[in-house]
Symmetry: C2
Subunit: 369 residues, 2 copies
Amino acid sequence: MRIIRNSVPAAEGFRMPAEFEPHQGCIMIFPERSDSWQYGGYAARKAFVQVAEAIARSEKVTVCASEAQYDNARAMLPPEIRVVEMSSNDSWARDYAPTFVKNDVGEVRGIDWGFNAWGGLEDGLYFPWDKDNRMARKLCDLLDMDVYDKRDFILEGGSIHVDGEGTCMVTESCLLSKGRNPGLSREEIEDNLKKYLKVSTILWLPCGIYNDETNEHVDNICAFTAPGEVVLAWTEDVNDPQYAMSKACLDSLESQTDAKGRKLKVHKLPLPAPVCMTEEECSGLDICWDEPTRTPGERLAASYVNFYIANKSIVMPGFGDPMDEKAKEILQGLFPERQVVQIYARDILIGGGNIHCITQQIPVRALEE
Amino acid sequence: MRIIRNSVPAAEGFRMPAEFEPHQGCIMIFPERSDSWQYGGYAARKAFVQVAEAIARSEKVTVCASEAQYDNARAMLPPEIRVVEMSSNDSWARDYAPTFVKNDVGEVRGIDWGFNAWGGLEDGLYFPWDKDNRMARKLCDLLDMDVYDKRDFILEGGSIHVDGEGTCMVTESCLLSKGRNPGLSREEIEDNLKKYLKVSTILWLPCGIYNDETNEHVDNICAFTAPGEVVLAWTEDVNDPQYAMSKACLDSLESQTDAKGRKLKVHKLPLPAPVCMTEEECSGLDICWDEPTRTPGERLAASYVNFYIANKSIVMPGFGDPMDEKAKEILQGLFPERQVVQIYARDILIGGGNIHCITQQIPVRALEE
């Protein structure tokens, strides 16, 4: 693995493909952390296994597990899924596995962004985050890929979405947060995205999902389903604080055009009724730096937008909510050639994210095309 | 990775290729253990890096490093070498990386033998050895290979050599030791080797190198250089306890024939003068279970036979001994198509083995042939 420090992907013809372009595989991380996953992570691991199995039906899945959890992971996952030992602080492959870029002849490289647990000492969610921050490079090494070193720029994979045709979508609440790159202007941040993802247009949404502790990652509120088309998490309940947030995003999307000059077609994806932590669930979480990570009644950032686009399926969350079926129908309509698989994801959500957050796609290489 | 428990390699047409057959790559483990490697392992790591670099000139090298040593390994090794995170108790890839077997259509699988640190609670060299024992399976998973589970049989890779044509060579001192498989008869041990390596003839040497704490592994005393030909570690000093040992091995070799019915051609490879631990070296080793691992004046099991056969080179140890050059010439004569590279290996030897002990070859797959 060559570590590239003196160049940027765009300058060498590497761009980030859209998630709906073909994958060689997917990376996940086995959950373990006792202040993230209730009651020792047993239920979370079962949910992760279901997600991995669903994805593995159409692409190779590699699951990273700690030394302590390796045997459990190996025993719980089917043989077609690869388990590799790799240390991490938690299990958010989307946010600290590499962002992969690809050139016209099908070479794939990784980007190693800086990671500081969603806000570092300002408003980060745990300390330390050193093992997470070292994963992108280790994964590129494992996959025998060169890697761009951009650790001086804090970015999580869940805070960006691309259409593969020159457009990147982000939220202001996250990318302009104090805890990430306070020394950089909006223009400097745009410039980094343009140089590393090979995009020309940044769509800025003002915010994300209410109470989303990632400073409202874009991948929980809005996602590309095709070039020029997005789904937006939506509620019709004007009394829900989410209403104003989703409306602000809709207004923002309607006022912008993508890199190809298109107005975006926005599909509303309904939200489930508020999902809140129970006393029982909170009792099953260890304390993190003298503070509970969750409190009873706390609203979680539940959203159907947090789905993964696999080669032949859409793996989306369900919450045991009457809206589950409707959301599934909408996504099925938008992805007619993929099978939508819905997985009950409350045990992933409790950890602070959902199916998109625990996965990272690897684009196909030339060899496999 | 499928774990195969209900079959054996020979029954499915898988055999262990000889080391001089083509490799897809080589596995090594970065040294770290402070009671094995003097003064925190700094000198050992430099020697390991030299070995890895020499091998990497003609085959892909994957180096396993602990979480703690990953960054060091990555920084010290050139980019063409892959570094992966993997826990271990020490750094003997030969002994606990998988033994690889291959079938006629070029599929490669691993064997996961049991490992108990060269003798378990009887006369093993450290405790615990759980991380080492789990490496074979992890490596097969990493390499996306199926693995035969034979953990109920204790065997180190350094205790066997094969000619790729039906013959396996072992030492009685090791394979019949009390600390490995005391419940198995010589015939039962032979039967396991035949079934797992797909060999028909076991050549038993009585012993190995004097004071070799592995119970005298075969790979330090005798190695195949071609079918029907071996090199045997030799001394002309009749007062050296090694003389009687090497002579017993020579007599044994001359009294046996290989699987093809050939008498073996034995090439004598001279030994260096005795290599002994210094006070200074012993002072740089941490205590292991209240005991020093080495004592000043202790003779180490130095032998030129402990070389690695890479695709286009022979990577052999040197000891700063007048015999270094002679041994190199002999091996160069026996491997005229490979370049012999000699690496000063005292810092590997102090840990208890040598270049063959810290490497494990992976045969080429069909795809690569």
